[in-house]
């Protein structure tokens, strides 16, 4: 693992059994992600973006090759260790927000801290801070059905960021949003990336998202076809 890198992938192969044969979703990928990156995995549907994101998020393990996510190698990654890693160090942002409808905005954002057994006073402070980052302090008592799509995704960002994770993985985070809300969301994430030095990795084929990325990794048929740093 290089100095300052939080994810190292070497010769990663991920294949799935299909029928009598095997489908290779990722084929010989080697990548390195540094702390504070704002990068994206870009490619058409079926190129392996989500599979790669699964492996980066410790939700899946490689068939062959080696990954080291936040200092934990894939061969040491038991389900329990993986759950612990996600709980402490990784935030997730989904296309469909996945907020819990019976809980308020405050409680949705508070949930990851409850899992970490953070003391109540500290929890409250962190939740309010996270909601301030995304500009939703006036909605703390609202419930998800009362929010717009943009507001819901901002709550999801606050929930992912509240524990100040090392890594945030976002799968098509703007797919359900209009252009204005998409830019607002992306600006928020960009600001958090800069202020907190959190590494963001996106899986996307949305041009609006691509426009914000500082590193673009293009995947095609499970292989990295280009890996480009963009100067901003």
């Amino acid at each position: 693992m290089k100095n300052g890198s939080i994810i190292t992938i070497e010769s990663l192969i991920k294949s799935f059994p299909i029928g009598g044969g095997e489908f290779t979703a990722l084929n010989g990928i080697s990548l390195n992600f540094e702390k504070g990156e704002f990068s994206g995995i870009v490619g058409p549907s079926g190129s392996g973006k989500t599979t790669l994101l699964n492996i980066l998020g410790s939700l899946d393990s490689p068939t062959k090759g080696q990954t080291i996510v936040l200092g934990t190698a894939s061969d040491q990654m038991s389900p329990r260790v993986a759950a612990m890693l996600r709980k402490k160090h990784i935030g997730f942002i989904f296309q469909t927000y996945n907020l819990m409808p019976v809980y308020t905005v405050f409680e949705n954002v508070e949930f990851p801290l409850l899992l970490l057994k953070t003391p109540a006073a500290e929890r409250k402070k962190a939740v309010l801070e996270a909601l301030e980052w995304v500009g939703l302090t006036d909605k703390i008592k609202s419930k998800p059905p009362q929010l717009s799509g943009g507001e819901s995704q901002r709550v999801a960002i606050a929930r992912a960021m509240v524990k100040k994770p090392d890594l945030v993985l976002a799968d098509e985070p703007t797919a359900n949003l209009d252009a204005e809300n998409s830019h607002h969301i992306l600006q928020t994430m960009e600001k958090l990336n800069k202020e907190l030095q959190t590494t963001f990795v996106f899986a996307t084929h949305d041009e609006k998202v691509i426009g914000y990325l500082r590193r673009i990794i293009r995947l095609e048929d499970g292989k990295v076809v280009s890996d480009e740093n963009i100067k901003k």
Partner: protein
């Protein structure tokens, strides 16, 4: 964390209100059935104990072997001594003599000629000794329909149905034609002082109650009796205590002689074993059926709830909550639901049971029945009723959830991103 889950539970009515209602309905049925079974079968036991079996009964071995014939020729002899021994050996227990007899009851007209006749079965009990509790035990005073209680040795009570059939009124003379314990013919005159309704069709068809000393004279049974019934303190049947008393008595007084006394517990007599087993059996069946049915219902509702909460569960796994932690939280939720539903169900069950404690009159359906049971069936609320519903209520809910929640462990984390995009 627990507060967080409970908050969610309260807010999501499909997770709380509906399951609580399902559990409450089930628990209501269990409590109601428990009170009903305890009341009906318990009354049968109490009724039989008071009228026929006692909590323990002493007879001669030969009498016991032929008890269906009520064979007074095989009666227990030397009862005075036996009673003294019983009182000395088992202080606190109450011992009473009973003679069951049968015969022809003849109602004469004003000329002394037979006006009406009918076969009857009678019970001779101690009605006239000072301090005797037999009238109270048999509930005679409250069972009086016409006339009054026995006050002199010459008087007899007839069942109201029997008296009506023979057109006998209180104050009318009747003649009991029967045999003595030595087989000789016996003709004894009585005055009908009143009529009674016992509430048991088998007794009401042709029943008589007379003082035991009068009947003893009529049947020539000096220092003899058909049966000695023993009642445990508080008149409550306690099988362990009854077993201990019968065991020690038989060891001390019973021998190979067919006229030697033998003591049987209530359970050992006639069909009482079946009755007592039935009480336990019905209770187990009711609770068992409820638990299986509720577990299936709640399993299904758990599966439906699981489907509805599929996204939430996936999110929780993705965020880093361990599967077993999620599973445990679901079980805790279900225990909470089971507990709340059990409280509500127990309250409703007790309410409905209290309405049934007044009883349902099934006398009309008992015509022709030989069963020694009351014509009014009543529920009885016992201390068990306050907690019995909690066992299946909580257990079935937890079991249903446990079965439904197994799906959590089968969930593949690698599919979460795809699933959570849906």
């Amino acid at each position: 964390m627990l507060r967080f889950y409970i908050k969610g539970l309260f807010r999501d009515r499909s997770r709380s209100l509906m399951p609580i209602l399902v559990v409450a309905i089930g628990v209501t049925l269990v409590v109601l059935m428990q009170c009903w079974v305890t009341g009906v079968l318990g009354d049968m036991i109490v009724f039989n104990a008071k009228f026929a079996t006692g909590h323990v009964k002493v007879m001669s071995k030969a009498y016991n072997d032929n008890i269906d014939q009520q064979p007074n020729d095989l009666a227990l002899l030397g009862t005075e001594q036996i009673l003294q021994n019983l009182s000395a050996d088992y202080p606190g227990m109450e011992w009473v003599e009973r003679i069951n007899f049968g015969g022809l009851v003849d109602a004469p007209d004003e000329n002394g000629e037979t006006r009406a006749q009918g076969p009857g079965g009678g019970m001779a009990v101690d009605l006239l000794s000072p301090g005797s509790k037999e009238a109270e035990r048999l509930n005679l005073e409250k069972s009086l329909v016409r006339g009054r209680m026995v006050q002199t040795p010459e008087e007899i009570l007839l069942s109201d149905e029997f008296a009506t059939k023979l057109e006998i009124e209180p104050g009318d003379p009747v003649t009991l034609i029967t045999t003595t314990m030595y087989g000789a013919m016996s003709i004894t005159n009585f005055i009908v002082c009143g009529t009674v309704k016992f509430g048991a069709t088998a007794l009401d068809r042709g029943g008589m109650v007379a003082d035991i000393n009068s009947v003893r004279m009529a049947l020539d049974m000096q220092d003899a009796t058909g049966e000695i019934l023993g009642y445990l303190p508080e008149w409550e049947y306690d099988e362990l205590q009854a077993d201990a008393v019968a065991g020690s008595f038989n060891e001390k007084y019973s021998n190979e002689d067919e006229f030697s006394p033998v003591m049987l517990t209530l359970r050992e007599q006639g069909t009482m074993t079946m009755y007592l087993d039935m009480v336990d059996y019905f209770k187990s069946i009711i609770i068992g059926i409820f638990m299986v049915a509720m577990a299936i219902v709640l399993w299904n509702s758990g599966l439906l709830g699981g489907l509805r909460r599929y996204g939430e569960m996936g999110l929780r796994i993705a965020i880093g909550e361990e599967k077993r932690h999620i599973y445990r939280s679901l079980i805790i939720e279900s225990i909470f639901i089971g507990f709340a539903g059990s409280i509500v169900g127990t309250a409703f069950g007790l309410f409905f049971a209290s309405l049934l404690t007044k009883g349902i009159d099934i006398g009309g359906m008992m015509q022709g029945s030989n069963m020694m049971m009351q014509g009014v069936m009543k529920a009885r609320i016992t201390p068990d009723a306050y907690y019995i519903g909690f066992i299946p209520g909580i257990f079935a809910t937890a079991l249903g959830t446990a079965l439904a929640g197994i799906g959590i462990f089968k969930r593949k984390t690698a599919q979460l991103f795809k699933e959570l995009q849906a």
